[in-house]
């Protein structure tokens, strides 16, 4: 990953976009591979590829207040 300062941006009715140098870990502390520079983290809880977003929130009608 890059040295870019980390940031998390909420996208309305959608996921959190994570940019920058952040390590993702499982609850057991194992490293989760990041296959791209910018990743989308599931916010609705319904993704089949958690912690990443798979777009399911759209079909589920997930709404945020931002």
């Amino acid at each position: 990953m890059s040295d870019e300062a980390p940031s998390i941006t909420p996208y309305p009715d959608g996921p959190l976009l994570l940019r920058g140098n952040v390590e993702l870990l499982t609850s057991d502390g194992e490293r989760i591979e990041r296959r791209r520079r910018t990743v989308a983290l599931c916010r609705c809880g319904l993704s089949a590829i958690k912690p990443f977003c798979d777009g399911t929130h759209k079909a589920a009608g997930f709404r945020t207040e931002d």
Binding site: Y11, P12, P15, R35, R36, R37, A40, F52, G55, K58
Partner: protein, 352 residues
Amino acid sequence: MPAQPLTELSLSVRSDTHVQARGPLSEAVLRALTGGRDAEGLSALASNAVERAVNVTHDDDLQLALFVLYASSYGSLETLDPTQEWNPDLIEARRTIERAFEQELRERVPLPDLPEPTVDDVARALFALTAEDGGPSLSRYLAKRATGQQALEFLVQRSIYTLREADPHSWAIPRLTGRPKAALVEIQSDEYGGGRPDRVHAEVFAKTMRGAGLDATYGAYVNAVPAVTLASQNMMSMLGLNRRLLGAIVGHLAAFEMTSSIPNRMYGDGFRRLGYGDDVTDYFDEHVEADAVHEQIAGRDLAGSLAEDRPGLLPDIMFGAAACLTVDGWVAEHLLSSFERGVSSLREGYPL
């Protein structure tokens, strides 16, 4: 063209890198670009072909001529002479076809109401538009019902775009500045593998094709696909290559990304159901994750901020998004209706 019945015995598609003309115009374009003929008089041939055409989107001669003219700009077909790229007669012929094609799309694509030109409103309007897309569900068919041959035909139809994935939208990069430019580059960088040649999406798709026993050479199946498949690719090239259509290519990308992650999960499921391994399904699984990122960036940071920066482009942003849904809907409808009738979606003689 009588549709060819499919049998379970046929499990291949003829590949052929020599592009075959489909009428007088495409024949003249091919000859001019492969050095065999002067391009003079092409413009008249193009005008005749346009006048003759009942439906530009479904006209084989027009769509193949346009496809080859764009291939000359991409450099995607090796046989085309690079010194003819800017030949004014060829450019004039291209403009003649483009005028008719764009006019037809403007007439046939239903336009949604325009949102306010703000990041938030534009992104919400694009997500709403793509959510209500009631087109036929090719992805559900692939997941549940497609036969082995139908799955191969699906890959062949997709290969016209996907072996050059992302390229049509890259034409927009130098025409943008600031926020929308950074957003488009963020998406395209991921499309192009983020610095890893083996993760370039077009390469990942080539691996899928080879894994399914198909030829991954670009253009190997141009002869096999109908006009409407070429039209889908040509529309992207037209929107990308003409600076006046900048809003439309941006809207197109947003709609394309927003209708990708969920269908790709189903395509992957379909190929797994048919017994294919990771080498074939990797492409689809990659796009479930990738396009869930891209659709957010495309909706807000690209299309939304472009509309905010240049409100005059808003109508074309929405037109490009609607055109993506409409034309790709026509392609999906062609595949689905062929499959449901038990006939090939390819041109006669191409399923083997």
